[in-house]
């Protein structure tokens, strides 16, 4: 069965019919070509599919599309402004905080949400916040460093 939904995706209102059993991650990827949203486990464990719903990180693989009807969804593609990378994206680049990049979009979205709540998170907070984003490559130290850099950059810019 299909359900009509209407929501904002990366700033643009989209109205369409969607299969009841289709999850956010698959719809973003297959219907909107937003392949920055990765699917790692399909079980709400790895965080690769993290997207922001009204600013809060959720697992796109464990959220049905109908559940975000009327909400605002942000993916990695929606972060930069006019082709420029967001501060968190820049910090990940500068700190070399990724290798294969599979986890990176989810990481960056989680960190973006974190810095909106806490502008100067300590290491324990950063690590706890990123507990839901698993990286198989970097060993996390570079990622923590990237979060610190991003926090500094955001502080300096404001």
């Amino acid at each position: 069965m299909t359900i009509p939904v209407s929501l904002v995706i990366n700033g643009k209102t989209q109205a369409f019919d969607v299969g009841a059993h289709h999850v956010v991650a698959d719809v973003l990827r297959e219907r909107f070509g937003l392949t920055g949203c990765k699917v790692g486990c399909d079980q709400g464990v790895c965080g690769a599919c993290t997207v922001l719903v009204d600013g809060a990180p959720v697992t796109g693989c464990a959220t049905f599309m109908f559940a975000v009807d009327g909400r605002e969804v942000t993916t990695i593609e929606g972060l930069g402004l006019d082709g420029a990378l967001s501060p968190v994206q820049q910090a990940f680049l500068a700190a070399g905080a990724f290798q294969c990049g599979f986890c990176t979009a989810g990481m960056i979205l989680s960190v973006t949400a974190l810095l909106l709540r806490d502008r100067d998170p300590d290491e324990a907070t950063i690590r706890q916040w990123l507990a839901g984003n698993i990286c198989r490559c970097t060993g996390y130290n570079a990622i923590v460093e990237a979060v610190r850099r991003a926090a500094r950059q955001v502080a300096e810019a404001s």
Binding site: I3, H21, V23, D26, G44, P57, T59, F64, A131
Partner: protein
């Protein structure tokens, strides 16, 4: 894998939800979906009908009552984590909910979903057991209350009759001069607990313990209360030896194991976590820091 197709229902009120659940074949309730959806993705669950409780506003609330807290079943774990009311009236719940899954899943996962799913490693059922939470359900035969101790029937199985929906949960406020602690052990921070322990203590004016509750998670299909250890603490002075006796009983309590974490390993953990949780609870109750 992906979830198989199903029919979707989004009732606006509880009566319609109950009516749907009672009449449709192979129907399941959808709360936050953080356990059900992975199970559907893995094809461990394949409901023909999903009844989404997300539109029933009444099920999402945190209220202070004369007795304590009343929490709607659809309240998200994140809302509990951020609630000042929960922190003030029920610090044990506040401490435990921060350990549930990770922030992405807490943004969707609900109190009711966790209590009804009853994963043996889940945190919130252990809190409900330690605090003698009272569960309110609505069903085709009307509303009824269930003491949490009577709620788990078996592995992943709550004692809900066909058509019944958990609506809200009552938790008594923490008494004066009391303290609580929730500890768990797992390999990664966002995992279910291998073993978890919740403890509450109340101290009398003479420094003796007047109330104690200890619950363990991860040792059986459902949370286990340590009645004998609790009884041993009542009337005792807060002391290291009191915690050790309780820990000793915790480590002897019957326990299920698996290949990864055998029973004796979990029992050892139970003892350690109970000892630590009691010491922290005592300190929070205003007891001497050294015990």
């Amino acid at each position: 894998m992906k979830a198989p197709p199903f029919h979707y229902h989004a009732p606006d009120d509880l009566a319609s939800a109950v009516a749907l659940l009672a009449t449709l074949e192979n129907a399941r309730v959808l709360a936050g979906g953080q356990s059900l959806m992975p199970m559907m993705n893995l094809r461990l669950a394949g409901p023909d009908h999903l009844i989404d409780l997300g539109r029933i506003a009444d099920l999402r609330r945190i209220e202070e009552t004369p007795q304590g807290l009343r929490i709607g079943a659809m309240t998200t774990q994140r809302a509990l984590e951020k609630s000042d009311l929960v922190r003030r009236l029920c610090p044990l719940l506040a401490e435990a909910v921060a350990l549930v899954g990770h922030q992405q899943t807490r943004n969707r996962g609900t109190l009711g979903g966790s209590l009804c799913h009853l994963d043996p490693g889940a945190e919130l059922p252990v809190v409900a057991a330690a605090l003698d939470a009272v569960l309110h359900v609505a069903g085709p035969a009307g509303a009824r209350r269930i003491a949490f101790r009577d709620f788990p029937l078996d592995y992943l199985t709550p004692s809900l009759a066909p058509g019944e929906v958990l609506t809200h949960v009552d938790i008594a406020r923490a008494p004066a001069n009391s303290g609580a602690a929730f500890l768990e052990f797992n390999r990664r921070p966002a995992d279910f607990a291998i073993v978890s322990a919740a403890a509450t203590l109340t101290l009398g004016v003479d420094g003796r313990i007047t109330q104690a509750a200890i619950a363990l998670g991860g040792v059986s299909h459902a949370p286990v209360r340590l009645a004998q250890a609790e009884a041993g603490l009542i009337g005792a002075r807060a002391s290291v030896s009191a915690w050790e006796s309780a820990a000793h009983l915790a480590a002897q309590s019957p326990c299920d194991g698996d290949e990864l974490y055998p029973a004796d390993y979990r029992q050892e953990l139970s003892g350690v976590l109970v000892r630590r949780a009691l010491a922290i609870a005592c300190q929070r109750a205003g007891g001497a820091a050294h015990v």
